[in-house]
Amino acid sequence: MSSTARPETHRAPRGWYKRNEIAVTPWLFLAPAILFFAVYVIIPIFQSISISFYDWDGLGEATWVGMDNYVELMDDRAFEVSLWNNMKWLVFYLLAIPGGLFIALFLNQTVTGIRLYKSLFFFPFVISQVVVGLVFSWFYLPNEGLLSAMLGWFGVESVNVLGDPTWATYGIIAAGLWPQTAYCMILYLTGLNAVDPEQVEAARLDGAKGWRMLWYVIIPQLKPATFIAFVVTIIGALRSFDLISIMTNGGPFGQTRVLSFYMFEKALSEYGFRMGYGAAIAVVLFLIMLVFIAYFLFSMWREEQGR
């Protein structure tokens, strides 16, 4: 009715929201996520960084010590061991990707009951890491364990995998590979469903088979699955905490610690009262993660550009 009263305007003046609707709405939808992401992720990152410059027992007054915590880290042998173990985890955990691929290729056929076999292979990923850790620590038991019995068949003397500082970390990684391989397998199984049968057919007509078929035709088509498998495996390797806690508790004498476990021990465990030092370890771990995160973001960005 008012519009008829003022013929010079085409429409009634709109509210601020109406005028900016296109620009504002996405932010409104994003707001809850941004809020929670900021409160639970972004702000804590900066808090950790700031705590790492203090000497603080988590109870009393914090005193500013500047870079002292980092200087001490440089000279801390336990930190060095943890860092190396993290590297071992990053490298050997990646074995889950080829492992998962080959199991997926093996299971990607139509046989009666294949669904059952697939679920059996996927089973280790479904059970809790704590259970995996317990099962493997029994498997590794020096005298009663299955492993020492199996070694006995070949006349090899039993080894105390988890009690030996040189083998313990590899023992835990092997335990971690069991569920992780299953995870990668399921990613590849879905990936294989998306493989274009016409391309396979065409390759076959051109005489490709066996390894060449796999390498030049199948694997390139599985690239998205490989990327996701790589991401989850790297993240899994850096998060390896529960298995260590269950299987060795960081021992023997701290030789199986990784950075996340060492941080927990220094800052939060029964005897840990060094929040600043723990935060410094966390910052180092964060920087390592940042390298991978940056790489992941970069490849995703490139992907989008390519489209």
């Binding site: 027992d57 988590g58 109870l59 009393g60 042998r77 620590s137 038991l141 020096p142 005298n143 105390n160 988890l162 009690g163 060795t248 508790n249 021992g251 023997p252 004498f253 701290g254 021990e265 939060l268 465990s269 029964e270 005897y271 840990g272 009262f273 060094r274």
Partner: protein, 419 residues
């Protein structure tokens, strides 16, 4: 006004209800109690004790929270600062120091001034004192010592050793029979701390041990090296079960039950699982850790578990009354008897239950520990020092040749911790 009215009515009701408790002031409001006694038997004991206390104070609304014993050790930091209960369990000596220093525990020296407590709890006063003030009250303690398979000793014609040479010759005989002398599981490290405690207390004495705990003696000192040299004699002999770094203390029990190991240096809490596993009192016995250096007085480990009032508690009056109640002779007799905690009462006027091991332990601590009573490695030594040192002790037990490296490392930690 209303609350005063309510309180006086309550007081009247109390006076009528229980003449025996005539002197009590009526307590009202809420009393939040946090317990770490999560194992079934201690939990039932504590709950029954609190129920009795609640019956004496009907106007008091008691809320008990039992937290898993291991989880409690990390949660205590949060609840002392954020959501404080009125009473909380913890441990004596250096283990309470971080919370005392941070002002999170209430000074209860006033309770220790009361004759009832001052006289009967004198023996544990030292363990509850920091900076000349008392910060809580003990409710139970237990002896450490060597629990052994009497039948195996008899089979080999051995008797309880009283000195180091006998201990070693006994051990040699046991090793020759194809067994290990001592079972131990060092996965969680503290069990190795027990061995160090005893070897150092016997080699260098109580005062030396406490000076080391206070950072006044270096780990590379010759006296400490002597302790490790003694320990090494046992290790080289094959005295300890193999692969002990894989086991928890409970997982080390079967070696003793199956007769693969003849003895266990442990706290009295090991008796219950050993009995449950089928060992009878004829098969199981106890002896005090033998003399190593005859020039030092015998001293023992006897860890004390305690009750504290957090500084942020809201009902401190009721909390104090609860502490008085817990340490009173009758309650002490009751909660520490064999069917409850099965440990030693802290009140001198309480009576020790008629149990073979409790009696031996009580006698040992009251008459044969002239050197002093230590708490335990991880309670006497500052947390950080204890954590690093116990890891070193485990490494030493597996690779005794690494000793120099371990001691040098501990010196470095010591420099930082006690600065």
């Amino acid at each position: 006004m209303r609350s005063m009215m309510k309180a006086s009515v309550a007081a009247l009701a109390m006076a009528v209800a229980s003449q025996s408790f005539a002197e009590s002031h009526a307590l009202s409001g809420d009393l939040k109690i946090f317990l770490d006694t999560s194992n079934p038997a201690p939990r039932a004991t504590m709950e029954a004790m609190i129920a009795d206390f609640a019956e004496m104070h009907p106007d008091l609304n008691i809320e008990t929270t039992v937290i898993d014993r291991e989880a409690y050790k990390t949660q205590i930091r949060n609840f002392l600062t954020a959501d404080s209960p009125d009473v909380a369990t913890w441990y004596a000596a250096n283990r309470m120091k971080p919370y005392v220093d941070a002002g999170l525990f209430e000074d209860v020296s006033d309770l220790w001034m009361e004759p009832e407590i001052a006289e009967n709890l004198a023996s544990t006063k030292g363990a509850m004192t920091i900076d000349g003030k008392q910060w809580g009250v003990p409710y139970t303690y237990y002896q450490w010592g060597i629990y052994y398979r009497k039948d195996i000793y008899e089979e080999l014609g051995l008797s309880e050793p009283s000195n180091w040479d006998e201990m070693k010759s006994n051990c040699q005989a046991i090793v020759d029979s194809g067994r290990a002398c001592y079972t131990i599981g060092t996965k969680f490290l503290w069990t190795a701390g027990g061995w160090f405690d005893y070897l150092n207390l016997r080699t260098n004495g109580f005062d030396h041990h406490m000076s080391l705990a206070a950072g006044e003696i270096k780990w590379t000192d010759d006296s400490v090296r002597q302790t490790f040299a003694n320990w090494r004699e046992l290790i080289d002999m094959g005295a300890f079960v193999e692969n002990h770094q894989n086991y928890s203390w409970q997982e080390a029990l079967p070696f003793m039950v199956n007769g693969d190991a003849a003895a266990y240096l442990m706290g009295n809490f090991a008796v219950a699982p050993l009995r449950e596993a089928g060992l009878t009192d004829d098969q199981l016995d106890f002896y005090q850790f033998p003399v190593i250096n005859p020039d030092v007085a015998l001293a023992e480990d006897a860890p004390t578990d305690t009750f504290h009032i957090p500084a942020n508690a809201s009902n401190k009056e009721a909390a104090r009354e609860f502490l008085r109640y817990v340490v009173s002779a009758d309650v002490q007799t009751e909660i520490n008897n064999g069917s409850n905690l099965g440990q030693l009462p802290v009140n001198a006027a309480a009576s020790v239950d008629d149990d073979k091991f409790l009696n031996q332990g009580f006698e040992m601590l009251s008459s044969n520990s002239p050197g002093g009573v230590a708490q335990f490695f991880d309670r006497d030594y500052p947390a950080e020092m204890a954590a690093e040192a116990m890891q070193g002790l485990q490494e030493f037990m597996v690779f005794p040749d690494n000793l120099d490296d371990i001691l040098a490392r501990l010196d470095k930690v010591q420099e930082r911790v006690y600065k």
